[in-house]
């Protein structure tokens, strides 16, 4: 029904487009000068048909349902249903379901008794809405029709409409981000009403399951999580990713001939396209048992199946393409003259790379590493599958450890009370993660920008 009405609005717009163009062409033929080409008049009129209709539709779909509900409740059957707001809302919602699909079976008996008045009211107000839309489309179209004249600047109007559409699209993304930040801050704020931020950020004991009553502050110390995150994402993963990524970037930019580069670079980039779940399997099923067996054969007592090392190693492999492609860009951005200068002094290729190219590319490389770190600490699947759940402050990479992201998953999955400190702490953790990655990204982008300017 709704789809048909919207389609009709667009069809009307399309008709308007052709009509306006035909009219403008006639004017064009009859007169020597027109401000805009006929096609702009066509678009102008089509927009004036479609947009008012869409606006009316949007408003009506907000306004109409409460009115429908009111009418249904005022009907003889409607007066029978309970006054408790929660029950009432549930019954109304079920009635809507039955109205849409008669085979739907509600939990409340009253739902089926008010389904008929519901359907009638919906049809009535749907019709009113359709009529309003048609009126808006015709009014808009009529206005635009009077503007199909020689002097009317349809072209500039249409250009402005295009600009506003693009602006709206970009604002939508920004607003979404702001909305996410807003909800994160709001929920974290609720958490910090119960738990002091200082205890949260500096406490060494993490046991949200035990947290009841007065010992909240003692059980929400997130330092072990931060440590696990840093140890896995920023230390172990980077020990793998930085040297390998850097060396592969140096090989690809300096040593590989064109054919090797053509094959190797895409293959390396495929690594970046592998879903993280797949890395997670690999970490949990292949790497972690291997590390456990290795640890056992080296004499470790009771090595854990899940280990920070397994998660960190696999995460490092996952990050290699990031480091490598950022380093690749940074090295490629160093002017060739710089390397030539060194070679012309009689430096060897590796001396040139070590002493001139890498120092010159260093800011770009550092920025790449920071972006890689920010990605690693936000990574979830690998740690969920391979790092374990124990919030532990330890330097032993063979022990299981937990991270911020893993705990967020734990806290928010399954049956949870939504307003308990335990659940809300997930938002506080998310906020910390968000702030840290944001800072890393900002610094990295700044560094890259400065670096670019230096060579332009």
């Amino acid at each position: 029904m709704t789809a048909a009405v919207l389609l009709a609005a667009f069809a009307l717009g399309a008709i308007g487009w052709f009509v306006a163009r035909a009219r403008a062409r006639l004017l064009y033929a009859g007169r020597e000068s027109m401000h805009s080409m006929p096609v702009y008049h066509a678009w102008h009129l089509a927009l004036w048909v479609v947009l008012p209709a869409l606006v009316v539709w949007g408003l009506w779909s907000v306004i109409a349902p409460p009115i429908v509900d009111g009418v249904v409740l005022a009907s003889p059957a409607g007066t029978q249903i309970p006054t408790d707001p929660v029950q009432r809302a549930a019954i109304l919602s079920e009635a809507r379901g039955i109205a849409a699909d008669p085979s739907f079976i509600g939990f409340y008996d009253q739902s089926s008794t008010i389904a008929a008045p519901m359907r009638a009211a919906q049809a009535r107000f749907g019709l009113i809405g359709t009529v309003l839309m048609a009126l808006a489309a015709l009014a808009g179209g009529g206005y635009a029709w009077t503007r199909v004249t020689g002097r009317f600047p349809a072209r500039t109007r249409v250009e402005r409409a295009v600009m506003l559409t693009l602006l709206a699209a970009s604002l939508l993304a920004i607003l979404t981000t702001l909305g996410i930040i807003g909800s994160l801050v709001f929920e974290a704020g609720l958490f910090f009403r119960d738990v002091s931020p200082i205890a949260f950020l500096t406490g060494l004991h993490w046991a949200p399951a035990n947290a009841v009553g007065d010992d909240l502050n003692a059980n929400f110390g997130a330092v072990p999580l931060f440590w696990g995150t840093i140890f896995i994402g920023a230390i172990i993963a980077m020990i793998v990713a930085i040297p390998l990524g850097l060396m592969s970037a140096v090989y690809l930019t300096q040593y590989a001939d064109r054919r090797a580069r053509k094959v190797l670079k895409p293959v390396l980039e495929i690594l970046a396209g592998i879903p993280t779940v797949v890395y997670g399997y690999f970490a949990a099923l292949t790497v972690a048992p291997f590390i456990r067996d290795l640890a056992a054969s080296l004499g470790a007592q009771n090595p854990s199946t899940e280990s920070a090392l397994a998660a960190g190693l696999v995460m490092g492999v996952m990050i290699i393409p990031f480091v490598s492609s950022m380093a690749d860009d940074a090295i490629a951005a160093v002017p060739r003259a710089m390397a030539d200068g060194s070679l012309a002094m009689g430096a060897t290729k590796s001396e040139t790379i070590k002493k001139v190219l890498l120092p010159a590319a260093l800011p770009g490389i550092v920025a790449g590493v920071m972006l890689a770190v920010s990605r690693a600490i936000g990574e979830t699947m690998i740690v969920v599958m391979a790092a374990g759940a124990a919030a532990r402050l330890s330097l032993n990479p063979l022990e299981s450890m937990t991270t911020v992201t893993y705990q967020i998953v734990q806290l928010l999955t399954g049956d949870q009370e939504f307003n308990s400190p335990k659940t809300l702490s997930a938002f506080a953790l998310g906020l910390v993660l968000f702030v840290v990655t944001l800072i890393l990204n900002i610094i990295a982008l700044r560094v890259v920008k400065r670096f670019r300017e230096a060579y332009e």
């Binding site: 003259a337 710089m338 200068g341």
Partner: protein, 258 residues
């Protein structure tokens, strides 16, 4: 084929061809480059003068697909011989580029770079002496002696180019190749570099590629004119500019094309 034998030839090229892939960039060039004189290569853009210059210290080796045939001798040794190490060769044949390209290091480290990789100094005082000498020769010492730790890139364009000359001089080369060293500089900085070339010419064989005929006339004693990958004429600078033997040289010098 005009060929000028010099009594104390430092570099000798015989029948040199250079190819980039299938394209022939240099066609059968033979030239003797003298010690203690400045030799200028002139010619219109794309005539191959820079390409030929880069064959003299094997910088073309770093370009994929470049190939050199013929013979180039440095003090009688074939520089394209299997046994010749391009790294050792480039220590003997230094190069200064079109755009100043100091390394992203301090002024001191820029100059010390070459001596360090070639192990020319054992201790810090020795290195200090090399750096000072090189900067003095390049006419830069007085301007930078109080800020040797500043970044080389913080200097002005002309100073950067003199730093690059100091850098090349620091490894005590026998030949210095200059590839349009003033094309990115203003007239005052250019004049300083030209004075410097005059000061340096007694110690080194200097080869300079230049776009500017006036510059060639001012700084060089010998001039070679290149056109379309061939060396058209080679002789004393005075003779080339006042009384060219070849019609094409005359056309270029009088500004018919270029």
């Amino acid at each position: 084929m005009p060929e000028a034998k010099l009594p104390d030839s430092k570099l000798t090229a015989r029948n040199v061809d250079v190819f980039y892939g299938d394209k022939k960039a240099i066609d059968d060039v033979s030239i003797d480059i003298g010690n203690g004189v400045v030799t200028a290569f002139i010619g219109p853009s794309g005539c191959g003068k820079s390409t030929f210059l880069r064959t003299l210290n094997r910088m073309n080796d770093t370009i994929a697909g470049a190939r050199v045939t013929g013979q180039i001798l440095l003090d009688g040794e074939d520089i394209y011989d299997r046994d010749m190490d391009p790294v050792a060769l480039r220590a003997r044949v230094g190069m200064v580029f079109q755009k100043p390209n100091p390394f992203p290091k301090s002024i001191y480290e820029n100059v010390a770079y070459g001596p360090r990789i070639h192990g020319l100094a054992q201790a810090k005082p020795e290195m200090d002496a090399i750096v000072e000498k090189a900067l003095t020769r390049a006419g830069l010492w007085n301007e930078v002696k109080d800020r040797l730790t500043d970044a080389g890139t913080a200097l002005s364009g002309g100073q950067q180019q003199r730093l690059c000359i100091a850098r090349a001089v620091a490894v005590s080369p026998e030949v210095i190749l200059m590839d349009e060293p003033c094309s990115a500089l203003d007239p005052i900085a250019t004049a300083r570099i030209e004075e410097l070339i005059e000061d340096l010419k007694d110690r080194y064989a200097i080869v300079i590629v230049t776009h500017s005929m006036q510059q060639a006339a001012r700084v060089s004693q010998r001039t070679a004119f290149f056109h379309l990958g061939k060396m058209v004429e080679y002789g004393d600078t005075d003779q080339i500019f006042t009384n060219p033997r070849e019609e094409r040289t005359k056309d270029y010098i009088t500004g018919r094309y270029g």
